[in-house]
């Protein structure tokens, strides 16, 4: 058995957790979490860690130059910089509204990139 210490990032509480993994890497127990999200986080973090990526995308013809974006769901951690590269190259045209899908599938993760801010045409 392999014991791992983790801090949950599910909410600002930041629960200190201890998870046990067997030889196969499978998580067999999670302790220290105060809610089910902690348990789920620990299992995922030790097997296929994921994160939501937030950044900005350039806007053409808008009242502002940049619009904030996020991946609609979390993406595999190792894909973060691939996502960033696509985000860096992307430019969209105003208007943009919260929730607009700017990329249907960012960096082959199957996750959409959505706007999290509004930019009026300007």
């Amino acid at each position: 058995m392999n014991k791992r210490q983790l801090i949950c990032i599910g909410c600002p509480l930041g629960c200190q957790m201890e998870a046990e993994q067997n030889e196969g890497g499978e998580v067999v127990s999670v302790k220290g979490n105060t809610c089910p999200r902690g348990d789920a986080y620990a299992r995922k973090e030790l097997t296929c860690p994921t994160r939501i990526v937030t950044s900005t995308v350039r806007v053409e013809g808008g009242a502002r130059h940049m619009v904030p974006v996020k991946t609609k769901e979390d993406v595999p951690k190792e894909k973060i910089f691939d996502c960033m590269e696509e985000i860096r190259r992307l430019a969209v045209t105003a208007p943009v509204a919260v929730g607009d899908v700017l990329l249907a599938d960012v960096a082959g993760t199957g996750v959409a990139l959505v706007a999290t801010g509004n930019v009026a045409a300007g």
């Binding site: 900005t56 995308v57 350039r58 130059h65 940049m66 860096r88 190259r89 430019a91």
Partner: protein
């Protein structure tokens, strides 16, 4: 840029680039003459100017300028070249501009007021400190007497708030009396020794140990940037050329006058005025065998929030005593409280870093003459260098073995106070030597940057109706509007950097120290001067503000 011409002689051509015109259309409707700007657009040098709205060309308030044919920068013989656009150089330039002639100022930095003149106590000394008979004593008292009228003429902040020298030890009283007598000999008016009670009644936050004070009602405070910038602007308006980012590298005596090699080409001039602050020894020693030595004497300061500005209402010095030369505590013309300076001789002429020791020394000594100093309200600390010459005396004279080379060296405290008198003195010397004739077009008055806070509500509303930028606050700590920043950018010798804006308007000088306003000020500089965001600087040279752009670089 090097072959660009003196601004005054430019002719205007309409901008041809459509994209530029469209971009400009979006600019604020700030309709004053914008002055001329040298700047770069995507690395290419460009000179533009802004005009009042033109009926035939409404979209094109800005124009690209074509070089005119006549006078080229650096070509031909100047009558006088002044090295250094600090307060001495600018005062000399201003007084010289009363006469006809070809004068220019060479400055290694990107703006006026970038060396010793920028970081000091901002005190207009009464004149009791210098030894009777010295040039320092004479120019101090003369400068003090001129300051008030000059502040009216050139519209810079000055307040004759008076000063105290505080004696906290009974056995040091003879020293206080000696200072009094010296002041009387120097011609300082109104000097009085006040007993403890009277002093405390006037300044309740004096130390409990106060025995007596020397009260100098003629002492005052001045905005050091305000004074320096006003002098330079007025000189520029009256025809003196200013060249920035121009570092003097070599000065050679020639048959007639001098040739000056700079980082931006060569110049020729009949007379050189060496007003180079801590570098004055370097230039002097290039032409003379009688060497001088200027030691940068570092002084560190704390600037306190305006909430502490009323802690004292006069400049409070401590009588030099067992703690050495004391730390002064003074209100500033903008309502902050200034505490300092230390005095440390260093070797680096650019060594304006603050030190842990220096700051500890201020904290330790600050309480000697003033009690309950709210040092918790420090908003920034800074250090400046005084140009201390070994003889501790102003050296203002033609160099014996280099006729035509006039030193204005060793200008340390009370140099700021003396600047108006130094200007007159040097201009007089040059007038005699060059037989200069009066400049009939000399404009003695200069209007400073309009401070809307001084207007009535109605006045301010008329201003905003006319120029809406005055209704848009950019610096929320100091309540500085976009209108004031535009004024600072577009006036003669306008601001090109964040510090340039700060010194002219105080935007960014407040309690948040430009945290909120710097992105917005950058945007204004970018928009108004066409300087790429990545080229914008804090204070010229390599002080770039940002290192990467809007992701388009990756395209």
């Amino acid at each position: 840029m090097d072959d660009m011409l003196a601004c005054r002689y430019m002719t205007l051509e309409p901008a041809k680039h459509r994209k530029v015109a469209i971009f400009r259309r979006k600019m604020s409707g700030f309709e004053v003459f914008y002055g001329l700007r040298e700047h770069k657009v995507r690395g290419n040098p460009r000179v533009s100017c802004g005009l009042k709205a033109m009926d035939d060309m409404p979209a094109c308030r800005y124009m690209t300028l074509e070089p005119a044919k006549q006078v080229k920068r650096g070509i031909g013989m100047y009558d006088v070249i002044i090295i250094g656009a600090g307060v001495s150089g600018s005062a000399i330039a201003r007084e010289l501009s009363r006469f006809r002639g070809r004068f220019c100022v060479l400055e290694k930095e990107e703006d006026v007021c970038c060396g010793t003149s920028k970081a000091n106590s901002g005190i207009v000394h009464a004149g009791y400190d210098a030894m009777p008979g010295s040039l320092m004593a004479k120019l101090n008292v003369q400068g003090n007497r001129r300051m008030k009228a000059l502040s009216g003429e050139l519209d810079f902040p000055f307040r004759q708030c008076g000063s105290f020298v505080v004696c906290t030890e009974a056995d040091a009283m003879p020293k206080l009396r000696e200072l009094h007598e010296r002041g009387v000999k120097n011609g300082v008016e109104g000097l009085r020794i006040l007993p403890r009670e009277e002093a405390l009644a006037m300044e309740p936050n004096l130390s409990d140990d106060v025995v007596a004070v020397l009260f100098a009602p003629t002492a005052g405070i001045v905005c050091p940037f305000g004074l320096n910038i006003a002098l330079a602007e007025n000189a520029c308006t009256n025809g003196v050329e200013f060249y920035f980012d121009t570092r003097v590298q070599e000065i050679r005596k020639q048959e007639e006058g001098f040739s000056i090699k700079t980082s931006k080409g060569d110049y020729e001039t009949r007379y050189v005025v060496n007003a180079a602050g801590v570098y004055a020894d370097m230039f002097h020693n290039m032409v003379s065998e009688e060497k001088i030595c200027i030691t940068p004497r570092k002084g560190e300061y704390f600037l306190l929030d305006k909430s502490a500005g009323g802690h004292v209402t006069r400049t409070i010095f401590s009588l030099p005593g067992k703690y050495g030369k004391g730390i002064l505590v003074t209100p500033t013309t903008h309502g902050n409280l200034l505490v300092g300076p230390t005095a440390t001789d260093i070797s680096d002429k650019e060594g304006t870093d603050t030190t842990a020791d220096g700051m500890a020394a201020i904290r330790e000594k600050a309480g000697v003459s003033v009690k309950n100093l709210p040092l918790r309200s420090v908003i920034t600390s800074f250090s400046g260098l005084r140009a201390h010459e070994d003889g501790h005396e102003f050296i203002i004279k033609e160099v014996g073995d280099a006729p035509g080379f006039i030193d204005c060296a060793g200008i340390e405290s009370p140099g700021l106070t003396s600047a108006p008198a130094i200007g007159v003195m040097v201009a007089d010397m040059l007038k005699g030597k060059l037989d200069l004739q009066e400049n009939p077009g000399f404009v003695p008055r200069r209007t400073g940057i309009l401070n809307p806070a001084l207007l009535t509500a109605e006045g301010r509303n008329r201003l905003i109706a006319d120029k809406p930028a005055y209704g848009n606050i950019i610096c929320r700590c100091e309540m500085i509007s976009e209108g004031e920043i535009l004024d600072a950018v577009h006036r003669p010798l306008g601001a090109k950097s964040l510090d340039g804006v700060k010194r002219r308007t105080r935007a960014g000088m407040g309690r948040c120290q430009s945290g909120f306003c710097s992105p917005r000020t950058m945007e204004i500089l970018h928009r108004e001067l066409g300087i790429g965001m990545e080229e914008l600087t804090k204070s010229g040279g390599g002080s770039k503000m940002i290192t990467g752009g809007r992701k388009e670089a990756a395209l």
